[in-house]
């Protein structure tokens, strides 16, 4: 690990000021992804700004009847919150499908949606990777890519975003609240949070340098039955090959988002009108334009079958 200087801050304003002051800064909260990447020298910050003790660790009602989840709320606390379990079951289900108990005790809301891909070529510093080292090429295309993206990818990158809870946030129309180094706040719809890889897969989100996530907000509850189904190589403690997040109402209408297929949680609102017609019709629209490799082509039928199973499960 490269050496770095360290400071702890108490307010978002102090955090962004520290960022503006010190070259090579990175924020650290739970650190479960960042420290791993620092050990591998994939991330090499010169200065760490410890934001883990910011007073952003509460879940509060919004004026619109939803919930504001502070960026420092731990995965365990979010999954356990009574309001989340009752009204946003998909969030709770997706969280407990991810990582391990130890990691969920540390990982935060803000960090979760910023976690980086688990593409093995991003992790292997001996391999070219346009995300890790812009312009070096992509070893995953044509390499071992069974876990990688089938839609929305580019010739430069086929990485997937690995967050489970992101799938729930996308299905539930969440937003991301931020403050930047000039003190300006903004709200980014979670649907617009991730940037398509295109020719610049190293730029992953809409955040500008130093912009700090302060909260993730959920709109008022949508009701219905919430199901999150994650398909993985072992029964627990593994990243998704694919996952399906579904909210379905009594009349058969609903929303669906996918994990493990793209650079972001994948949702196509227009496909949801077909939910009453079943998984085949929905999947055809949801994954229209998919581009697979011989190793990851299995993901298309797997999505359809998983969605069929989840729809059956939701009916009871």
């Amino acid at each position: 690990m490269k050496s770095f200087t360290y400071e702890r801050v108490d307010t978002p304003a102090a955090a962004t000021a520290a960022f503006a002051r010190t070259k090579g800064s990175r924020y650290i909260a739970g650190g479960t992804n960042l420290l791993d990447l620092m050990k591998l020298e994939i991330e090499t910050p010169a200065h760490l700004i410890d934001i883990s003790r910011l007073a952003l660790d509460r879940i509060e009602p919004t004026s619109g009847g939803g919930l504001r989840i502070g960026a420092m709320v731990r995965n365990t606390d979010l999954a356990s919150d009574e309001r989340i379990r009752r009204d946003y079951g998909l969030v709770s289900r997706a969280l407990v499908a991810g990582a391990s108990g130890q990691l969920r005790n540390k990982a935060t809301m803000g960090g979760n949606i910023l976690q980086r891909t688990r593409c093995p070529y991003f992790y292997d510093t001996n391999q070219p990777c346009n995300k890790r080292q812009p312009g070096s090429g992509c070893a995953a295309i044509g390499g071992f890519n069974r876990i990688l993206a089938v839609i929305g990818a580019s010739d430069a990158c086929i990485a997937t975003q690995p967050s489970d809870v992101g799938v729930a946030l996308r299905a539930l129309d969440a937003s991301v609240e931020t403050v930047n180094v000039t003190g300006k706040t903004r709200v980014i719809p979670y649907a617009d949070f991730y940037r398509a890889p295109g020719e610049t897969p190293h730029i992953e989100t809409a955040l500008v340098p130093g912009e700090l996530i302060t909260a993730v907000t959920l709109p008022r509850p949508v009701g219905g039955t919430h199901v999150y189904h994650k398909v993985r190589d072992r029964a627990s403690y593994a990243f998704a090959l694919i996952s399906v997040g579904l909210v379905v109402q009594r009349d058969g209408t609903g929303r669906v988002a996918l994990g493990g297929v793209a650079y972001k949680p994948w949702r196509v609102e227009a496909a949801e009108a077909d939910l009453p017609r079943g998984a085949k019709a929905v999947t055809a629209k949801l994954l229209a334009g998919a581009k697979t490799t011989h190793e990851n082509a299995y993901k298309l039928p797997l999505v359809e079958r998983t969605l069929a199973g989840v729809l059956a499960q939701a009916k009871g």
Partner: protein
Amino acid sequence: MQTPEDHELSRRGVLVGGAASVAAVTLVPTATPAGAASAPAVPPTAEVAFKVNGTAHSLELDTRVSLLDALREHLHLTGTKKGCDHGQCGACTVIVDGRRINSCLALAVMHDGDEITTIEGLGTPDRMHAMQEAFVVHDGYQCGYCTPGQICSAVAVLDEIKAGIPSHVTADLTLAPAVTNMEIRERMSGNICRCGAYPNIVAAISDVAGVKA
């Protein structure tokens, strides 16, 4: 082929190099030419104070030191083990402010003021914690390397179930989770045992919880 003479030479070379690098580090504050190095020659340190197993400690550490290395290398509490050092195996599990975490994925300097419990703090060979005793009774290990992490995790798992924290296998999110075989297995999935002592580990935890494995 390397002769004993070569070996002696290279060994001497290492010793000389080692001495030279120590000298360089010592001289840095006065001898660095202005603007010569982009990275600081002496790695930055920071002060941290925390309690481990009830005892207060103050340390000045390289900022890179993980909580795991602080416990093992600086406080010589070697019960906590380094397995993968990447948060994938759970051998380094300790309990911080009542919650289990992977101490390998934690910077020591970020734990100022925290209360840390390691395997040494749960019990001693003479006065074992109920979970330690159950692991012995049920033979919940083979080589023993993952065991301290398993036991710290297991103690926290029962507290998590008691606190109503749901898991992936909890059937109804609105009800309190129960201590079942499936709940224990799911919640312990962050602790890998390559000897495969899982059935006995589950038996030990079930025993402490007062349920049938």
